[in-house]
Symmetry: C2
Subunit: 731 residues, 2 copies
Amino acid sequence: MIQSLMRTIVTFLSFLLLTGLLPAQQRPSMLVNAADIAAIKRSAGRYPLFERAVAEAKAKVDAAIAAPMDVPVPKDAGGYTHERHKQNYGEMQMAGILYQVTKDERYVRFIREMLLKYAALYPTLGTHPAAASEAPGRLFWQSLNESVWMVNTMQAYDCVYDRLTAQERRTIEEGVFRPMVRYFSVDQKHILNRIHNHGTWMSAAVGMAGFAMRDTSMVAMALYGTNRDKKGGFLNQLELLFSPDGYFTEGPYYIRYAIMPFMVFAQAIDHNRPDLKIFEYRDGILKKAFYTMLQLTYTTGQFLPINDALKEKTYRSPEVIQALNIAYKKFRNDPALLAVAKDQGSVTLTGGGIEVAAALASAKEPAPFPYKSFEVRDGADGSEGGVGILRYGPNSDQMLALMKYTGHGLSHGHYDKLSLLFYDQQREQLQDYGAARFINVEPKYGGRYLPETKSFAMQTIAHNTVTVDERSHYDGKIDISEQFHADRNFFSVSDPDLQMMSATCTTAYPGVAMRRTVLMVNDPSLAKPVLVDIFTVDGPKQHTFDLPFYYMGQFIHTNIKLQSYTAQQSMFGPANGYQHLWKEAEGKANGLVQFSWLSGQRYYSVSSAADSQTTVYSVRIGANDPNINLRREPAMILRKTGRSAVFASVIEPHGVWDGTIEISRNASSAIRDITVLASDSIGTAVRIDRKDGTRWTVLVSNGPASDTDRHTMNVNGTVQEWTGNAVIRKH
Amino acid sequence: MIQSLMRTIVTFLSFLLLTGLLPAQQRPSMLVNAADIAAIKRSAGRYPLFERAVAEAKAKVDAAIAAPMDVPVPKDAGGYTHERHKQNYGEMQMAGILYQVTKDERYVRFIREMLLKYAALYPTLGTHPAAASEAPGRLFWQSLNESVWMVNTMQAYDCVYDRLTAQERRTIEEGVFRPMVRYFSVDQKHILNRIHNHGTWMSAAVGMAGFAMRDTSMVAMALYGTNRDKKGGFLNQLELLFSPDGYFTEGPYYIRYAIMPFMVFAQAIDHNRPDLKIFEYRDGILKKAFYTMLQLTYTTGQFLPINDALKEKTYRSPEVIQALNIAYKKFRNDPALLAVAKDQGSVTLTGGGIEVAAALASAKEPAPFPYKSFEVRDGADGSEGGVGILRYGPNSDQMLALMKYTGHGLSHGHYDKLSLLFYDQQREQLQDYGAARFINVEPKYGGRYLPETKSFAMQTIAHNTVTVDERSHYDGKIDISEQFHADRNFFSVSDPDLQMMSATCTTAYPGVAMRRTVLMVNDPSLAKPVLVDIFTVDGPKQHTFDLPFYYMGQFIHTNIKLQSYTAQQSMFGPANGYQHLWKEAEGKANGLVQFSWLSGQRYYSVSSAADSQTTVYSVRIGANDPNINLRREPAMILRKTGRSAVFASVIEPHGVWDGTIEISRNASSAIRDITVLASDSIGTAVRIDRKDGTRWTVLVSNGPASDTDRHTMNVNGTVQEWTGNAVIRKH
């Protein structure tokens, strides 16, 4: 009897432990709790940014209340019905908060009526008529949007729950919430369990539904996967989607989007299951993810567009505002965030929103966001390469160089190992194309990724890295690419005047070893630092090696005599992205290759060592693009042929241009010549001769990384010795 | 004896009258006089903008005094020596004012030493080694820059004149000033007497030299030409270079530059020869010129780029700042100028500069500059066509349409009769290419106009107007084009919801009559006004008529099935600008032609009536451009063939796009169809069907302009009657 009772108690306790059925929190308990609501009430009239957020929410919801309510039958993937359902969940979410703050009955009526309409509509829906992915929704063309609907709607439901009758709750929960959760957790469980940002959104949706409906089994599914075995679900996503440094495997553009469900769901967990200490989980991985995300923007706020990325996305995106407001409160009001918050220009209706608004209401100008040179490792255990970023100068005119040597990055990854991005003067100078997509623009392929994303933007030739034999890395096959990654050779930013990063990739082409070393060199004789870029490729057989520079700006000059295709031009090659490039001109190099462009108020030059085996192509994106989906932007491509090649270049900002006052100075590069003196397994030696007569000898180690090892190398008969990974001898 | 004395006196008086030798003014008396200097001293510490101007001048001149002085032997057309001489005259000019204000001897010494160096250098110079124009200089590659040197240097000389010894004055005047005036008035008298902005700069130079050296014969040459017959010189330039409305014959871009010598010399005249009442001359032509210049900018400050023009030029250019500061004082502190002055962000070291700075120092935000819809006539007597400008909306989001129906506009004129420019959202939407030039950029053709200005930018096909049979207007021959002009048919902006302009050109092609009518229509059902654009062309013979739309933005969609040249593309035609266009795609129209683009946060569509004789070409600038001098920008070209053609189009902003919050609405045009119902000598009738079912019938008179005449026209068997120049019947 006692044994039986004991067994029952143990079973019950185990059940409690497993499902986390703790005493119900006071509502609301999603993004805001009772303390936040009290703080919002107290804040009235005090913090302009927050006041505006409240006023805007009121204006929007009051307008919605005044207008006819519409919960339309879904039709399109980016048209009216899509937008209307987005609008609806946004209005419900705001109405919920407004009800909690004002206790105005109108907001309850609005949410109640709309939820009842959804409860009536949802059971009538099959798969969305415009569905086109492996993860279709019912209200929306993809279940991703449907997850977002639920994340928002659950906040509204939670806010007015206590004001609905039991019958209303039943109608709503049985009509739409539970069937939707069922749809997610049964029909779409491959998404819910997926280690991917869509999985995170769905986990957040199901988990917040669980919190709102006090359904612990939903919460368990959200946290541990549909089988509650931690092979899927939020916690496993936190384990696998981030490297130990907080790098999100899909890259900066997608963490911009994914940060929202991560932080929002974490906030809801923190309010409902404080015992989980979710913000401390995995050594504070959410905090690392958040700060790494901000460090992966340029000073304009733009996310560095590696992998599929749209360049209009900045830290001013609503998802980042949401995340920052949560982070600011949770991470002890870090003042470093305030410059970003100010630039965002708005706050959310949350406790964090008040604290950000209060800080910005003080007269003090926030310090600039502390951007730094840094490396983040990729891979769940940090062993799969990474991203290196070198920076120099104040935020107002910061030079940035990025090298990508990560793993593939899931379905939005590009075949761009060792690709280089270069920024200066608040703009791209050597660009990554990003993705080909006009998001939500219905006439452009329904707003989805355009076919040119796969056929061009993902291909290696679309990037500032080497393509071998006109084939993309890993032959453009994701199932192969996903097995590999590049590797950091060394990364050091301890000397601000000689920052360096170096990475190797031996897997992109069977038998071909690629290594790139980028130095950011500041020198008293230079107005701005220069990049020294040494890219070595070694293959056992004869190859062609193509290295593009996708420069951004007005072409100014090249020292190469180019044969221009003036009356007729053809695509550069038949496939692998080459078919999207027009060959505008080509020429044979003879010693130095140099070309320059004008961008903003400065000139830029690339100077590169070449021999008679080097061909230079001036190309432009846009061939085989019948719908004009691609931007007509240029590149210069250096092509070398042989068993191996060294591309040794200096990338150099110089001079000044001001059209208003008609000033142009130093329009020409300061580099007279660049020579590869030697390159072997020990190192690469490059001589840079400047027009002012000074000479730099650059010695870069190609062996194992070490700050202390001494290297000895035969350079054209004389012995060069140096210590560490790279040195520059200035004569 | 008495007779002889009387004769002497009469002769002397006549001489006085002729040469204007009036009692010498107190120095300084160029841009500033003693009262201005006193005001500058009084202003100390009071007006931030003026304080900054003084501080910047001090910093620059003090740095110049501290550095080695260099008056180099001239070499280049845009390199060091060119820039150095520009720097020198700027520093001397500032040093002069600073001396007057501070009485600091260092400034006198600086000017003295530099002028003595110029006096030593100048006699050794022949024609400038990089001279390449019909008006070479000695210090500079063109005498234009040399005139500017003198305009500035004379201000400096005037300021320190009283502190130089007679010997120093003689050395300087004989060494450089008088030889330079001689060079201008003898070797280059074709420039000095020329009715052209270069002539104005030279007049100002010679006239200010005359005032500074008290040489009345120089002043007379400057005012009346080298023969003092008023066939050349400043007064004749005021007569002939401006229309009665103040339109400068070369267009907005060049008045931006020319306004400076006009206003600067006028200010000097006003100080030295107040009897001439120069600012009242020709019914206040300088005031009209100044205000018309500002009205010929868009709300961004950009000068509307008809004829040769560089788009980076705005009213923030230093010449306009100089002119505005003079104008503000002279034209009674017009508060309308303050918004422009604020946007300029700096003031000159003049009396006007103080008054502008004082006005801006008050806390009040200046009212936006009062841009208006207006027409300016071209031609010295106003009979040579003009420019029509329609505007709608606040300066922050103003729609602007410009039609050009002027005369040729001297050597920088384009073959672009009836060309249309369209702006919205603070940016170009249908562009004028402007000129091909990178000013002062040495590697780009020495910074001069590029050959592509003539071969492309000037040609008719480079403009949004009709090219007949692939030949430019007047066959691209300036000597023919200069004899003709287009004519206004009507221009009316009395109804802000139906603004209209119409012009005719019968001379561009022998026997071909072209007429364009542009209506800016605001309608309660539209978020923004639309343009209705009706272009009729009648030739006696079979022709091809090409009408391009150089849209600015990302192409979104066309309803035409275009055959794209995907793997290879060719130039559009062999000559007359066509050789610079790549033919990207073409298709046959069948009813409506519609295409759209995305720019900023809005979509734009052109919808145009077409028949099966209409071909549509998607083209891009850049063929036959081996040095990549041209911007790779697109156009859609409608080609009709026949004895006559009517291009009836609606140009329509619509929808909204915001990538940050992923909103896209109304990406498609609201126009369903456009039909030309009839077109004859009485009028043109066009039907516009909108997707919402409403229909507009547009009736435009092709006869003589009249607001009151009644027109009767047979339209497909029914009689249409209307009064006035144009009506829209909305059904």
